[in-house]
């Protein structure tokens, strides 16, 4: 409404406006599948966005799994070289035996699964 009032004020001083408007006027264009094409592109973009994050996480995770497992193995080797008294003290303190601790590969796989799950949840929210 406000726009129409401003428009009218613009036009009052413009004697040629009706003629120019008639010259510039054109018939409404039939849709002929235009909206369908646009919406197909929009939906494609939505799906690409949804899939990008999980795909990146899976690819990144699969690339990182080898060096990450190497790091974990190296750390366990460092842990093994520590004096037995020190490790016994740590185990006594926590009240756990070494055999009851989860294997390094289990921790790594759980981490990757957790990351992928988080990514999927975020993608679904988006």
């Amino acid at each position: 409404m406000k726009s129409k009032i401003i428009n009218m004020a613009d036009r009052l001083k413009d004697k040629q406006a009706p003629g120019l408007e008639a010259m510039f006027r054109s018939d409404p264009l039939p849709d002929l599948g235009f909206s369908k094409k646009v919406m197909a592109r929009v939906r494609r973009q939505v799906w690409i966005r949804r899939l990008t994050m999980p795909a990146a996480l899976i690819i990144g995770g699969s690339i990182a799994i080898k060096p990450a497992s190497d790091i974990v193995i190296a750390m366990t080797q460092v842990f093994d070289t520590l004096p037995p008294k020190l490790t016994d003290a740590a185990v006594d303190f926590s009240g756990l035996s070494v055999s009851s601790l989860p294997h390094s590969a289990t921790i790594l796989v759980s981490g990757v699964i957790a990351l992928v799950a988080l990514g999927l949840v975020r993608a679904l929210e988006d």
């Binding site: 004697k15 009706p18 003629g19 120019l20 010259m23 510039f24 235009f34 929009v42």
Partner: protein
């Protein structure tokens, strides 16, 4: 609804406004195929930037701003493309092909629009074909109202002098 990325609601907006956007870009580019491609890009940009529409002013005004920006981006790319073609000596072939293809569909409005610069054409179309106010045109083109008024005046003068039209003969 649309601001929350509701595809159904956005589909309704596309159906409602496609004609105005396509007509605006057809007049601006004077190439129906290019205009329809740009219209699709415009709606895709609108979908991505829908959260920037604050609800101030008309939605079609905002959509025409997106369409004009899409056109300018495409023009910049096309200019760069022509520069590259000129460097390798193919520009004349392309231009000749375009003129022969378009010459069949030239009407009076095309002749008028041809004498205007891109900026003048955009402002004149937004004013007389789309019916936007000077302020809305200013918002759509990022130009002050004074500049819009002088562009419209200049555009009308160009058409008048080029085609020897008197005031009462418009239309």
């Amino acid at each position: 609804m649309v601001a929350k990325q509701d595809t159904k609601a956005f589909g309704e907006l596309v159906r409602r406004h496609q004609s105005q956007i396509r007509n605006f870009l057809r007049k601006l580019t004077r190439d129906n195929v290019l205009a329809d491609d740009l219209s699709q890009d415009c709606f895709l940009h609108a979908w991505n930037k829908i959260h920037t529409y604050a609800g101030r002013g008309s939605f079609i005004g905002w959509l025409l701003k997106v369409a004009y920006t899409t056109f300018l981006q495409s023009k910049r790319k096309s200019n760069r493309y022509h520069e590259i073609l000129e460097e390798i000596g193919h520009a004349e072939d392309i231009n000749e092909e375009r003129v022969s293809r378009d010459s069949d569909e030239i009407n009076d409005l095309d002749k008028f629009l041809a004498v205007l610069s891109t900026e003048e054409r955009a402002v004149m179309i937004l004013s007389y074909a789309c019916g936007l106010s000077h302020r809305e045109i200013g918002d759509a083109t990022d130009m002050p109202i004074g500049t819009i008024k002088s562009i419209i005046f200049r555009g009308k003068e160009k058409i008048r002098t080029k085609f020897e039209i008197k005031d009462h003969q418009y239309g």
